[in-house]
């Protein structure tokens, strides 16, 4: 029972929370344009900030795309560094509007090397306004730092419940400062690059034509975040189904275990139960004793399973790549888990009825004589 409920709980938690996280992290964007490679990798790296980017694209081309008649607006992002594993995103101020972000304290960046930080970054790194920090090369902390050019924290964002809480936001110039030639930056040279372009269409009719245009005619690729994430869930959904079937089998076996244990128990104790009847215990009272025994095993077993499932999930969250980007405070899944628990308890109750009825129908005189 414990194992079965642990697996079910874990499966529900992983499935629901990752789904919710992926949904909440996408600020209703229609398409992402980036360097050619895996479209899923492009979406994961530029919207969900999990994977590494497929490469860079020219800033000049990015600007051209943003001016395309099909595009309502575009937000360029430039990745490459991190601080204590929190990604530093070079972008423009429209990026914050995507998440309806507001400042908790401080102000927006005005100059290169100024930054605003998400609420989780502030909580976990203890960075404060006017504090300086140095970014590390790459998207995970390798210790290879840009010590010559530290960032200054000028603002801390309010909690949004999205990936933004885990990001450090700065201007594109800041990222270019660290990775490009100063002359190129000053001249806004064609050699400047960004990692991806987050785009919103003017209308949905461009859903098919625009990506085809980019994919066929440029050295870039366009990927739909919703399409790529649903493809991902279709793949993981199969594994999820197998895990669910497995847990259903384990829980069913535990029901059978409870049933046979109770039947075996009452068979071994039928003489004792008959004695209780001779002492004045009514059939209903003995029936309820059997029911309470069985339900105690089920309730305790399934409750421990729920707790263990939660603990294992938290461990996975802590150690996994996705874990840091999990949107916390989601309570929707609790209803699903409680429903599953309720169903398990109902089936347990029905299972316990079988030995209960057997005891209820027991002929005490014959039982005492036969023993």
């Amino acid at each position: 029972m414990i194992l079965g409920v642990t697996i079910i709980t874990l499966s529900v938690l992983v499935n629901q929370i990752t789904k919710n996280t992926f949904t909440k992290n996408n600020p209703d964007l229609d398409v992402v344009v980036g360097a050619k490679g895996s479209p899923l990798q492009l979406v994961l790296s530029s919207i969900h900030h999990i994977d590494i980017p497929t490469g860079n694209i020219s800033y000049k081309n990015a600007k051209k795309i943003m001016k395309h008649p099909a595009i309502k607006f575009g937000v360029p992002i430039s990745l490459g560094d991190n601080f204590q594993n929190y990604r530093i995103v070079g972008t423009d101020k429209k990026f914050l509007k995507l998440y309806d972000a507001e400042l908790e304290i401080g102000s927006m960046w005005e100059k290169p090397m100024q930054s605003v930080i998400g609420s989780n970054v502030a909580n976990f790194t203890k960075l404060k306004i006017d504090k300086f920090f140095v970014g590390s090369h790459g998207l995970i902390d390798t210790g290879d730092i840009h010590s010559e050019q530290p960032y200054k924290v000028v603002g801390i964002l309010k909690k949004t419940g999205t990936i933004l809480d885990n990001l450090i936001i700065t201007s594109l110039d800041s990222v270019w400062n660290l990775h490009s030639n100063q002359n190129d930056i000053l001249k806004k040279s064609d050699s400047l690059e960004v990692t991806a372009l987050l785009l919103k269409y003017k209308n949905k009719t461009s859903v098919f034509s625009f990506p085809r245009l980019i994919n066929k005619n440029t050295s870039m690729q366009a990927a739909s975040p919703n399409l790529e994430i649903s493809k991902l869930f279709k793949l993981t959904g199969e594994a999820h189904k197998i895990i669910n079937y497995l847990s259903i089998i384990i829980v069913s076996l535990s029901f059978a275990g409870i049933l046979f244990t109770l039947l075996n128990n009452i068979n071994e104790r039928k003489y004792d139960l008959a004695i209780l009847r001779t002492l004045g215990f009514t059939r209903e009272r003995i029936f309820s004793i059997i029911l309470i025994e069985g339900m105690t095993v089920s309730i305790l077993g399934s409750f421990i399973g729920l707790i263990l499932g939660g603990i294992v999930y938290k461990c996975i969250e802590f150690f996994s790549l996705l874990g840091r980007n999990i949107v916390t405070g989601q309570l929707n899944f609790i209803y699903e888990i409680l429903t599953i628990w309720f169903v398990i308890l109902i089936i347990s109750f029905l299972t316990c009825l079988i030995p209960g009825i057997k005891v209820y129908k027991q002929n005490i005189r014959n039982t005492l004589l036969n023993s």
Binding site: L279, R283, R365
Partner: protein, 213 residues
């Protein structure tokens, strides 16, 4: 008053008990005797509400036992009757104290102080923590007797209470039953072949099964 009227019991077409009639007044005692296999234990089961008779009725004062529902019979047995079974019917996995406690619970009482007094009277107070499975037959018999007197039973039924006891223990158990019955002002209905028991207890009435009354 216990009134047994026209009581008959058949099993597999064989009439084991036929037209049994007797009355026992309050605090009076009845001895049931007869050869083995004549149906003495079956009669006791019927009187205790453990076996439904084929015909006839059992009345305790104004209560007709078998007109009650099965649950009411169980409750009546728990509150009004004390039974010492021939095979003791103790829960072997429980200690002496637990056996008495469960009977006390069945009777509906939460007070357990009197259990210690009962154990004192049967001489088992210092062994209350011992499991029944580890007791001698004489000790088991005493536990069974003590259990029968939990609560305020008005009718005490004993089935061959001394069948496996030596003379000394027979005296102890018989006297114990007599004393406790008197203490509880209960009627005693006892099955035995044992002349030693019959000589200690002066029965007001004797029912000889297998004989024409």
């Amino acid at each position: 008053m216990l009134i047994c009227e026209n009581l008959s019991f058949s099993i597999d077409g064989h009439k084991l008990l036929s037209n049994i009639d007797f009355k026992i007044k309050k605090e009076k005692d009845l001895l049931i005797t007869g050869p083995s296999g004549i149906g003495k234990t079956t009669l006791l089961s019927i009187l205790c509400g453990l076996q439904i008779p084929t015909e006839g009725s059992i009345r305790y004062n104004d209560i007709s036992l078998y007109s009650l529902s099965e649950n009411k019979i169980d409750e009546f047995r728990g509150k009004q009757l004390g039974i010492v079974f021939q095979s003791f019917n103790l829960i072997n996995a429980f200690t002496i104290k637990q056996n008495l406690q469960i009977a006390n619970t069945a009777e509906g009482s939460k007070d357990t102080d009197h259990l210690y007094d009962l154990l004192e009277r049967v001489g088992l107070a210092d062994k209350s923590h011992i499991k029944v499975s580890n007791l001698s037959i004489g000790e088991k018999q005493r536990v069974a007797v003590a259990r029968a007197f939990i609560g305020q039973p008005k009718w005490i039924f004993c089935d061959e209470p001394t069948s496996s006891l030596d003379d000394k223990n027979t005296d102890i158990i018989t006297n114990l039953i007599k004393e406790e019955s008197l203490r509880h002002k209960a009627s005693l209905i006892l099955i035995t072949h044992d002349k030693r028991v019959q000589s200690i207890l002066n029965f007001n009435k004797i029912l000889r099964l297998g004989e024409v009354l």
